[in-house]
Symmetry: C2
Subunit: 459 residues, 2 copies
């Protein structure tokens, strides 16, 4: 009997494995597809690879400013895909080698919990095997959803996973249904690599998420338009058909769009169908119900990541895995805590956020003051030829304690953690301002974004 059986090797399962191995546990993993799960194979990591490529492509025109004389001979998504696959394979191989060196068994197939201590592995060839564990961690992640009867076929109608994992060549014309995170990320990549892109969004702005301020959305829409991306807001796809190798979309405003392929990116749902036969409790949307310790209604069965109703983010899954394994085998139990979850989006801009926006604070009845500073006047940003972006810091009005930060611009996804630490440590505008930041760095923008509040306005 294993100490722990982990079902799924995505960011949750992988992190749980790392913890179990470090605790010298007798652990087994179950994986129905590629090691590393969605995040590694068909979401975060390959997306950021393509994004790094597209960001580089965008910058080529500016390189003469560094005295670099270039001739661009071609831009090949196919080549990028090949090398993306190599980068991903490196991480799969690392994981595979770790498992081998630790003699950790990997059961290939779908894991189904058939008893509180038993997982049945349903292999691709239909054969079955049952393994036993004292504890089980469900980390099976999520799958793309659909809307309005649009059915992905992997050829004309692609899921984000089809796009990221399988697509060898970009279509000439791509329609993206859904202007959320994945739609804005992949749509922009496709645009830079050469597709003519149309984004269709049912709400009134791109990234219509509460923690994305309208200020950020507006900046992004301006940049998308500049890149030649056609944005259709406040509409949805009423009907669609595939004819003569083209997809025709009829929108709710009556307009028609004809494209080569459609990317459907309207969200994800927990991958919890057929996960068990023992009555693990789920909510109406399929999320596994867990208590504060990530324990299901079976005391030896835990769950983490996208199967649990918490922010659907890889780093939240990994965090939950650390908490869950700690709660099972560690010295002390602790409750999961999502009060500070920094996150980022990589589209035409790098966008990062933590805590509350001014709008969210207002809804909660918190009075705020905010500080702003543009990248334009930051010497590092100018040296890097990347002067687009800004920082917005949000403080509680009386205490001047920091409660939120939004950053648009290069390295937003890194420097956001400085403000996340500030929130964690309940720092005030004065403390953020007084800190010594390296010069020249992007991070020193935090000094300038707090000047108005701490010292006084310049104009």
């Amino acid at each position: 009997m294993y100490d722990l059986i982990i079902i799924g090797t995505g960011p949750g399962g992988y992190e749980a494995l790392l913890n179990a191995l470090r605790l010298k546990l007798n652990v087994a993993v179950v994986e129905k597809s590629k090691l590393g799960g969605n995040c590694l194979n068909r979401a975060c990591i390959p997306t950021k690879y393509y994004r790094a490529g597209s960001h580089t492509i965008e910058k080529l025109d500016k390189l003469e400013k560094y005295g670099i004389q270039l001739e661009v001979k071609g831009i090949s998504f196919k080549e990028a895909k090949k090398h993306k696959d190599e980068a991903i394979a490196f991480f799969r191989k690392s994981l595979s080698q770790l498992l081998k060196s630790k003699k950790t068994p990997v059961y290939r197939g779908i894991g189904k919990i058939i008893d509180k201590n038993k997982v049945e592995i349903i292999k691709e060839d239909g054969t079955k095997e049952i393994i036993e564990g004292k504890y089980i961690l469900i980390a099976t992640g999520s799958v793309p959803t659909s809307v309005g009867g649009i059915i992905p076929d992997g050829e004309y109608i692609l899921t984000t996973e089809n796009f990221i994992e399988d697509l060898e060549e970009l279509p000439e014309q791509l329609a993206v249904i859904g202007g959320g995170v994945a739609g804005c990320e992949l749509g922009y990549i496709a645009s830079v690599y050469g597709s003519k892109v149309t984004v269709i969004e049912i709400k009134d702005r791109l990234l219509p998420i509460s923690s994305i301020s309208t200020e950020v959305s507006k900046n992004l829409m301006r940049k998308f338009k500049k890149a030649g991306i056609d944005i259709r807001l406040n509409v949805y796809v009423k009907e669609y058909s595939v004819e003569n190798g083209k997809v025709k979309l009829i929108l709710s405003d009556g307009n028609e769009i004809v494209v080569d392929k459609v990317l459907l990116s309207v969200g994800r749902k927990p991958n919890t169908e057929n996960i068990d036969e023992i009555g693990i409790e789920k909510d109406e949307r399929g999320f596994i119900k867990v208590n504060d310790y990530l324990q299901t209604n079976f005391e030896n069965i835990y769950a983490c990541g996208d199967v649990v109703n918490s922010p659907m983010l890889a780093h939240v899954a990994a965090y939950e895995a650390r908490v869950a394994v700690g709660n099972i085998f560690g010295k002390e139990k602790r409750k999961r805590d999502y009060s500070i979850v920094p996150w980022a989006i990589f589209t035409a801009f790098e966008i990062a956020h933590v805590g509350l926006t001014e709008e969210e604070a207002k809804e909660k009845g918190i009075e705020t003051v905010s500080g702003y500073y543009p990248y334009t006047y930051n010497e590092k940003a100018v040296d890097e030829l990347e002067p687009e972006g800004f920082v917005r810091l949000v403080f509680e009005k009386n205490s001047k304690q920091i409660i939120g930060a939004s950053i648009v611009g290069i390295e937003a996804s890194e420097i956001i953690h400085i403000m996340a630490y500030a929130i964690k440590n309940k720092m005030t505008a004065q403390e953020v301002h007084d800190f010594i930041y390296f010069h020249p760095s992007l991070s020193e923008i935090f000094i300038y974004a707090t000047y108005d509040i701490v010292v006084g306005k310049l104009f």
Copy 2:
């Protein structure tokens, strides 16, 4: 009579100006050369511009991995210099516009304090003007030093300032005297832009600074050698001569080197000669003596930046300026505090540091444990095609409180601030580990660099 006269417009003077303007003071500035001082015109900002260029050049070969097919037609330092000058001019112009819009007088010339409330401006044409101020801030910065009788002539023997501000074309062969920060930064830039570079260092390693661990120096030397840079350690220049347009250096080990130009980068000294006629106290090295509030022996005269005996860093100068102006005109006085000063070096690697190294802690009798993690296994670093680097975190052994961090690799100079905040807030390895970092980010390396300490070793 002005409220405040600021002598010098470098990072100290500029920051003091910003504070004074925000406090609605009647302020005047004195500048003998270009607005923005050394940092903007001939040190930090242009160096990081060239470094951004050289880093980009180094990466060109890898861009096929993003599907980018290029032909490099040429690399021109001269072109880079032209655009570098434009970038710098943008900031000078911003400062100039700010001064104009605030109607702040700029007195062009050397400022000499001739009475505790009077500054005499000695203009380039020899004429003089006297202005009066309630308070005076000395922020005249530093100038390059020399060693062993080597005299910079601006043609064959260059100071770092000659190199950064004036040099239009790189020499074929360049010898750099001094393997410290400026030598390693500029030497590497010259090498990438096409010079054959030799670095001559009197000590036994590059970057022979206490807060640079030998681990970091070793990594750097390996990379320098790979780039074809000739490193001569444990030697100094015994004699030199200029003959037939070449410089011949005779080293202390008997070897001879013949090059086209020499860059002398052996340090800087405070620019405090002839600064006053009233007996402002200085130490034996020329640093102005100030108390904890940055006040000189005259109660209305303050000093900040390189003229004061504190870390010779632009961001320390700016910090001191904020403290000094706050102490003169603000609500409460505070003491200058250098306990947490992050800093970074941009050479073959980006290198950043804050707090204590293991070696420094040992010297202070502090027992430590440390955590390490390489960039190689960080997904973001791989996506960015930048998998070289590592993080070393240092903790006090019993409390596991973080006391230092060294980072080598991309964005080291940004993510170092996260660890600087951790030190500031006396966070433990457990707290650094438990934090939720965005995935994929470089910042999440901090989770992995603390695993051994917090959970247990993997191998």
